[in-house]
Amino acid sequence: MTGILGVYAFDKVWNVSKFLYYGLIGLQHRGYSYSGISTLGDRGFSKASASLPPEDLPLPDMKGWSGIAYTGYDKVYPYVTEEGALVIDGVIKADIGEFSRELYRDPERAIGEAEGVFSLIFLSKDGVMVGYRDELGIKPLEIGGFGFDLAILSSEASGIAVVGGELKREIEPGEMVYIDTYSISYKRLKDSRPHKYCSIDILYQSRIDSHVFNLDIYDIRVKVGEQLYEEKKVDGDVVIGVPDTAIPYAIGYSRRSGIPFSLGFTRTGSTIRTMLASDDFIKVIGVQLKLNPIKSAVRGKRVILIDDSMVTGRTLKNTVFSLRSLGAKEVHVLIASPKIVARCPYGIPIPDERELIASNLPDKEILKIIDADSIYWLSLEGLFKAIGHNYLCTGCMTKSFPKRWW
C-alpha cells in the first residue's frame, strides 16, 4: 500500500518541497507507516524520511525545484543516489541500485526489461522526470498541472488537488511519461491486455473523492452497496457502515432497500494515528478499532452492518459485540467485497493465508466467531456488475493471478 508523488517545476524559481509535503499528505490513506521526500536543487539531491505518516513528518527545510515523495511501508524509498531519486509503488524483480542506474542511463530500456508489477517516478540529476504505470494497470498513476509552472505525477488525484493543481488524466497502463524543462512526451512501452485494475485499490485503498482506474470511486462504492442489496435482502431497521470506507456502501444499500441509513459510529482520534494493528492492511481496514458506536442509533434495532472487508475477523467481532452491548436486537453483517483468501504478490500487504479467516473457516464457523445473526459477502459477479466490467485483478479473492513475475 503505497502512494507516490512527483512535482516538476519548469522554472527554477520554484521551491517544491512543501508541494511534495502537502501532496504526500493527500496520499497517506494509501499507506503511512513510513514516508519520505527527496528534492533536486543546485547542489544535488536532498532527502528527508522517517517511520512516520506524512502528516507527522517534520516539515522539511529543503530546497529544490523538483522532487519526488513516497508514503507506504518500504523504507528503501525514496531511493536516492548521486544520479537520481526513485519511488516505486509495487514489486520489482531487480536490484534496486542497479535498476536506478539503468533508469538513469536509459529509462525506456530499464523499464522495458524490468520484471514485476510497478508504477514508478524517477528524477535524474539532470532534471529529467520519468513516470511509468504498470502495464496491467494494477497500480495507478495520474498526471496533473499547476498553472504554467508545474507538472505533477501522483498515484491519485488527491495528491494533485491538495496543492491546488488540476488533474489532467491517468497515465495509461504501460505508458511512460518523460518530463524535462522543454517538453512532456509519452510513450507506450508495454501493452498487456486485458487490463487488470486492482480490486482492493478500488474497494478500499483509493480515497472516495478520487477518479482512478477510469472510475469515480464514490459512485462505484455506492453501486457496490446497491448490488449488495440485490444479492442479499436483509430485513432490518437501520443500515450502518463502518467509517470511513464502508459508508458509501451503506448509503447504496440504504438507497436501494429503503431502510434508513444511520451514522453508527464516531471516531476517537484521527483516522490513522496510534493504530494498534501491526500490519498495514489491517491498519487501513481496521479503522474500527478506534470507533465507538452511537447507542441511540442502534438500541432496539435490527442493525445491518456493512464493512468493507474481513481479514482476520477480530475487529469485526469486537464491533458486533459492542453493537449488541448497546442494545442492538439483531446484527446482520454484509461484507462489501468477495472473500479475501490469498496473499497479494503485487505489494498489497495482505496477511498470509493462515491469518485470513475466510480462507480457513466455512461461513457457519465465522458466523459463530463474530456472533452475528447472518453474514454475507459480495459475489464476484456482483463486483464486476457494480464496476461495469471485469478488467480487474481479483487474485486475493480467487487465487488466480494475472501475472507471475516471481
Binding site: 524559481v13 498553472g147 491546488g164
Partner: protein
C-alpha cells in the same frame, strides 16, 4: 485587377493570404514579411504579386512598399505593426486597411489601458486589477494580499510572462507567492513603459475567443474558437502564443451556449464603441475578446486582441464559406454592412507544431530543418499553414516559434482530431517537435467545467450580484 498588401509573416497571415488569394475578386496578393514564409509565398506567386522582405514594424519601410505597390487595400496580421502605427501609415497614404490605428490598438497593447476603459465604461466582464510601476511594490502586494491572482506584464509582449496563481490552499500560500515574487523581476523586464506589472484577480473556467469585424459603423461576429495556451501535452507547462485551437460546430463551441455568445458579442461591441469614444477615431479592423466563462460574470474578458488570434485564425477562416477576402476589403473600405458571412457548420481543429525549446529558449528552437509531405497532407484533407519557418533555398528552417499549423474540418471533433494527428506523422525534423495530442479531445471535460461555472454565475445573476467580487486581508484590507 485589385491589389492587396498583406503585412505579417505567421500562420495567421498564411490563412489570410489564402483567403485573399482564393477570392472571386481575383486579388493580386503582395506581402511584406520579415522572412520568406513558404505558405504566403505560394499565394503571392500564384496571384502574380510580389514578396517583400523587410521590417514589418518600420513606418518608412511600409511607406516605401505602399508607394511601390500602390495597393487598393491593406491587411495587417500581427499586433506589433499595429502598435507601431503601420495602419495609421496606410491611412495617411489614403489606402484603406484592415487594422486599427495605433491609438485603437492600445486596447491590446496596454492591459492597464484596457482594464481602465472597461471600468470607466462599466463594461460587463471586467476584472479587479491593480498596476505597479516598480517591482518592489508589486512584490509587496503579492506577498501581503490574500486571494488568487494573475500577474502579467502591463503590456502585450507576445504571449509571455503571465503567472497564474491559485491560492486556495493557505498552507502553500507563502510558497506560491514567493515564487511569483521572484518571477516579477523578469516579467517587468519584458515591459518598456512606466507601468510594469498588472495584477488582477484570478478567475476560472473554459476559455474562448470571439472575433468581431468592424468598420466603425457595423459589426460582424465570427464563429467562436478556443485557443490552448500551455506548451506541453495535456495542457501542462509554460505559456505560449497558443498550441492549437478548435472552432464550431456552427457559431458556438460545445461548451458555450447561444445566450453566452450573444452576451460576449455585446461586450466586444460595447468595448469597440468605448474605444471610439476614448480615442475619437473609428476602430476599423478586428476586435477579439479573449474570454473566459467564469462564475463571477459568465462571459469575462481576459484580454483583447486588436487583430486575429493565432492559431484561432487558422481554425476560423477555413470554416468561412463566403468570400472572406472580399469581406476583408468591405471592412477596410467601410462597407461591412454589405458583407455576409456564411459558415461551415462542421467543427475544425488546428494544432501547431513547434521545435523543442519553444517557448523558453528561442535559440534552441531556431535553425532546425523541417520536412513535410505537403501533397500527402493535402490529399488527406488537411490544410497546412506555415508559421515561424523560413524558406531558404529549398529547405525549411525554423525561426524559433510555432513552425507549422495543421487544420482539419470534419463532421465531428473526434474525426477532425484524428486527421490532424495523422497528418502530424507526415512532418519530421532534425529536432524533437512539440505537438499537443490532447487538443480537441477534452470536449467533455470542458462541457462539465462550463456547467459548473454556469450554475454559479446564474445564481449570482438571480441575486443581482453578477460581477461583484472582493478580497480581504488583515495586512492591507480590501482590494
Amino acid at each position: 485587377m485589385k491589389k492587396v498588401l498583406l503585412v505579417g509573416d505567421g500562420a495567421r497571415e498564411n490563412a489570410l493570404a489564402e483567403a485573399l488569394g482564393s477570392s472571386e475578386e481575383g486579388y493580386v496578393v503582395y506581402s511584406l514579411s520579415s522572412y520568406r514564409n513558404p505558405g504566403i509565398n505560394e499565394v503571392v506567386g500564384k496571384t502574380g504579386g510580389r514578396y517583400f522582405i523587410g521590417d514589418i514594424n518600420s513606418v518608412e519601410e511600409v511607406r516605401r512598399v505602399i508607394k511601390e505597390v500602390n495597393p487598393d487595400f491593406g491587411v495587417i496580421g500581427p499586433e506589433d505593426p499595429l502598435f507601431h502605427g503601420i495602419a495609421d501609415e496606410f491611412r495617411k497614404e489614403g489606402i484603406p486597411v484592415v487594422g486599427p490605428n495605433s491609438e485603437g490598438a492600445m486596447i491590446e497593447k496596454s492591459k492597464v489601458w484596457m482594464r481602465e476603459l472597461m471600468w470607466k465604461y462599466s463594461i460587463p466582464g471586467r476584472l479587479r486589477f491593480k498596476y505597479f510601476n516598480t517591482i518592489e511594490e508589486a512584490a509587496k502586494f503579492i506577498l501581503e494580499y490574500g486571494g488568487s491572482v494573475a500577474v502579467k506584464p502591463a503590456e502585450q509582449v507576445g504571449g509571455k510572462g503571465v503567472k497564474v496563481v491559485a491560492d486556495i490552499q493557505a498552507y502553500l500560500s507563502d510558497e506560491k507567492r514567493r515564487a511569483i515574487t521572484t518571477s516579477v523581476g523578469s516579467i517587468a523586464n519584458l515591459v518598456k513603459g512606466d507601468v510594469k506589472i498588472l495584477i488582477e484577480e484570478k478567475v476560472d473556467g473554459p476559455e474562448y475567443t470571439l472575433h468581431v469585424l468592424t468598420d466603425g459603423k457595423s459589426y460582424l461576429p465570427l464563429p467562436l474558437a478556443q485557443d490552448n495556451k500551455n506548451a506541453y501535452e495535456d495542457g501542462i507547462g509554460p505559456e505560449t502564443g497558443g498550441m492549437g485551437a478548435i472552432s464550431g460546430p456552427g457559431y458556438l463551441l460545445p461548451f458555450i451556449d447561444q445566450e453566452e455568445f450573444t452576451r460576449s458579442y455585446e461586450i466586444v461591441k460595447i468595448t469597440a464603441e468605448a474605444i471610439e469614444r476614448e480615442v475619437k477615431q473609428s476602430y476599423i479592423g478586428i476586435l477579439s475578446g479573449q474570454m473566459m466563462l467564469t462564475s463571477i460574470w459568465g462571459p469575462t474578458i481576459i484580454e483583447y486582441y486588436a487583430r486575429f488570434g493565432d492559431p484561432e485564425a487558422s481554425a476560423i477562416i477555413p470554416r468561412i464559406k463566403s468570400d472572406f477576402g472580399k469581406i476583408l476589403e468591405l471592412l477596410a473600405t467601410g462597407h461591412l454592412s454589405r458583407a455576409k458571412v456564411e459558415v461551415d457548420e462542421r467543427p475544425s481543429v488546428v494544432k501547431a507544431i513547434a521545435p523543442l525549446g519553444y517557448p523558453l529558449d528561442k535559440n534552441k528552437a531556431s535553425n532546425h530543418r523541417i520536412w513535410l509531405d505537403l501533397p500527402k497532407i493535402r490529399e488527406m484533407g488537411c490544410k497546412v499553414y506555415f508559421g515561424s519557418v523560413a524558406l531558404e533555398g529549398n529547405s525549411l528552417l525554423t525561426k524559433g516559434s510555432r513552425a507549422v499549423e495543421i487544420v482539419a474540418i470534419e463532421d465531428d471533433y473526434g474525426r477532425a482530431v484524428e486527421k490532424v494527428d495523422k497528418c502530424f506523422s507526415l512532418i519530421s525534423s532534425d529536432t524533437k517537435l512539440l505537438f499537443r495530442h490532447d487538443i480537441g479531445r477534452t470536449i467533455d471535460q470542458q462541457i462539465e467545467k462550463a456547467q459548473i461555472v454556469r450554475y454559479s454565475y446564474k445564481r449570482r445573476e438571480a441575486r443581482g450580484i453578477l460581477g461583484i467580487s472582493a478580497d480581504w486581508s488583515p495586512n492591507g484590507g480590501l482590494w
